[in-house]
């Protein structure tokens, strides 16, 4: 006999995979035993009440589903294209949902309801009121609660047969592999490219299929990465990360609530197909949902790229080095969907909301014309609320309407001058000719910078925009 050899790299990986599967199977069995014991106790309690031994079993069956399972999943079991064996596989399968937001909410609910064996829920954030229009797994009563906890409560209330794990620290390079290792399938329900690249890489190095969807505005997209022999991964499709300014965020662009809902439900469909082993998985295809047109389109995607750094022939991202990969540097964005906070103007060109309010009230007291305020937000935000006397020119139209801006400054100055321009009053008079306001204080800075290029030198930005005004001066203001 040949002497025992050290296992080769791929054999080792195979063994590790087997080990992970066995561990998972063990956890499942433990859960099943605990469940069975619980039910036995229930049954014992009810038979003692009836005084007498249970009647002998008068039927035969050779599957793993309990009566409770059969009743609950009866409509799946009746389905010719799904049925008993697919339901058994689903009940033994596990899925990790990264992100308990607009996509993760319906996905988690449907997967819990469908009877997936183990559901892992990842998030790092707490429930906010502005989440509830689409993140339907959460409730008003759970605003402020950790999203993973809130989602786990909803899933447990829906189906106590499902084992639910919460991963409360979010998803980062340090914990990614440890978390993903314990699941059969991963569902990307995150909201930013930085985390999307990380999830992709973790799935590629551990060999897990990745059901990925996204939604912004009224558009949705869905595909399954890293599935089968030659399906591409996220990096095959997008080897280079888009620039931060090219990534529209729900927090800025808005999103129609049911659109991520529809995409999350479709992700659950793909997971049920994958774990149940039925149907054609949506790999090498991209499904596009245009809610306004009422249209679904499926298009054909490329296969794996041989030169892909994650799944190609000579990958540079491996199990060993993934934790050290700098995803923030790669995408140039923090792993959130928050807009970056800009600081492009010197302090001399910035005033606080308090300072502007001071100028406004001293003008009112002395009977002078109010200071010129330019609001550069989009029309829909301006019409929600704005400062009295604010003139509205959206940021995108500044170049075209620069003469209007100059007139605005001249107008407010002329009134001031005709009100008696003595030196003493001049000292109290604001230095700025124009106060530029936006939602959060980013575009107002860019607007001031652009106006300077266009020859308007006496404009200043209001730090933090309407959001900051509401926070520091008027909590009753309906900011978004």
């Amino acid at each position: 006999m040949a002497p025992a050899e050290e296992p080769r790299g791929d054999e080792l990986e195979q063994k590790e995979r087997e080990l992970a599967l066995l561990k998972q199977r063990m956890a499942l069995l433990e859960q099943e035993v605990a469940d069975a014991r619980r039910r036995q106790q229930h049954a014992a309690a009810s038979t003692t009440a009836q005084d007498g031994p249970p009647p002998p079993r008068s039927f035969a069956c050779s599957h793993s589903l309990s009566k409770e399972h059969v009743q609950r999943y009866s409509r799946h079991l009746l389905l010719p294209s799904f049925g008993l064996s697919a339901q058994e596989r689903l009940c033994q399968g596990s899925v990790l949902i990264v992100g308990c937001g607009g996509l993760g909410s319906p996905a988690a609910l449907y997967l819990a309801a469908s009877g997936v064996g183990t559901l892992g829920l990842v998030d790092h954030d707490v429930v906010d009121l502005s989440n509830l229009h689409r993140q339907i797994i959460h409730t008003e009563a759970r605003v402020g609660v950790h999203k993973a906890t809130s989602a786990a409560q909803a899933c447990a209330a829906l189906n106590s047969l499902v084992k639910v794990n919460t991963h409360m620290d979010g998803f980062n390079p340090a914990n990614a592999l440890e978390i993903v290792r314990g699941y059969d399938v991963v569902l990307d329900a995150t909201d930013n490219p930085t985390t999307r690249y990380l999830i992709n890489d973790a799935c590629v190095v551990l060999g897990k299929p990745l059901v990925s969807a996204a939604a912004v505005g009224t558009d949705g997209q869905l595909t399954v990465y890293n599935y089968g022999e030659d399906a591409p991964c996220y990096r095959c499709l997008f080897p280079e990360s888009p620039a931060p300014e090219n990534c529209s965020r729900c927090a800025d662009a808005g999103v129609l609530g049911p659109v991520p809902g529809a995409m999350g439900v479709l992700q659950a469909v793909e997971v049920v197909k994958l774990l149940g082993g039925v149907g054609d998985v949506l790999a090498k295809k991209l499904l596009i949902f245009d809610a306004l047109a009422g249209r679904f389109t499926t298009v054909r995607l490329r296969g794996k790229r041989t030169e892909c750094v994650a799944c190609g022939l000579c990958p540079s991202i491996t199990r060993e080095n993934l934790a050290a990969y700098d995803y923030v540097a790669f995408t140039g964005q923090a792993p959130t969907d928050a807009a970056p906070s800009l600081s492009v103007l010197p302090p001399s060109l910035r005033v606080t909301p308090q300072q502007l309010q001071g100028v406004m009230s001293s003008a009112a007291v002395s009977g002078r014309a109010p200071p010129a305020v330019l609001d550069v937000r989009p029309a829909n935000q301006f019409s929600l609320m704005h400062l009295p006397n604010a003139t509205h020119i959206p940021f995108e139209q500044l170049d075209a309407k620069v003469e209007e801006v100059k007139d605005l400054i001249r107008g407010s100055k002329c009134v001031e001058c005709s009100g008696g321009g003595s030196a003493e009053i001049g000292e109290q008079r604001p230095e700025a000719g124009l106060y530029v306001m936006c939602r959060r204080g980013n575009n107002s800075q860019l607007a001031v910078a652009r106006l300077r290029e266009l020859g308007v030198l006496n404009a200043v930005d209001v730090v933090g925009g309407m959001e900051n005004w509401a926070k520091s001066l008027d909590p009753s203001m309906p900011v978004i």
Binding site: T190, V216, P242, G264, V299, L301
Partner: protein
């Protein structure tokens, strides 16, 4: 020759808020219309805002998928893919939100 240019995933905002443009491309002494040429043409003739949100170098910027007749342009030669009368070229901006 007539081709359809389609903009999806919010790209329509850069093209006059219009998702579908049916355009007539003039024959230019035997020089074939490739996807690369159509991208330049769309930039000159259809783009209404900020070219840097559409292009980088002589191609589309990272994050945009290009399809020719509903198939990834990687399957048909990317920039050099030759177009026929009646073809549809689709530009999809990848979404990240959820």
């Amino acid at each position: 020759m007539k081709v359809k240019l389609e903009f999806s995933g919010g790209m329509d905002l850069l093209f006059g808020n219009k998702k579908m443009h049916e355009v007539e491309l003039a024959e230019t002494n035997g020089k074939r219309w490739t996807v690369g040429r159509v991208i330049m043409w769309a930039r000159e003739n259809l783009l209404t805002e900020r070219p840097e949100l559409f292009m980088k170098g002589d191609s589309v910027r990272p994050g945009i998928l290009v399809l020719v007749n509903d198939c990834d342009w990687e399957l048909s030669g990317t920039l050099d893919c030759e177009l026929q009368d009646g073809d549809t070229v689709t530009f999809i901006s990848t979404l990240h939100g959820g």
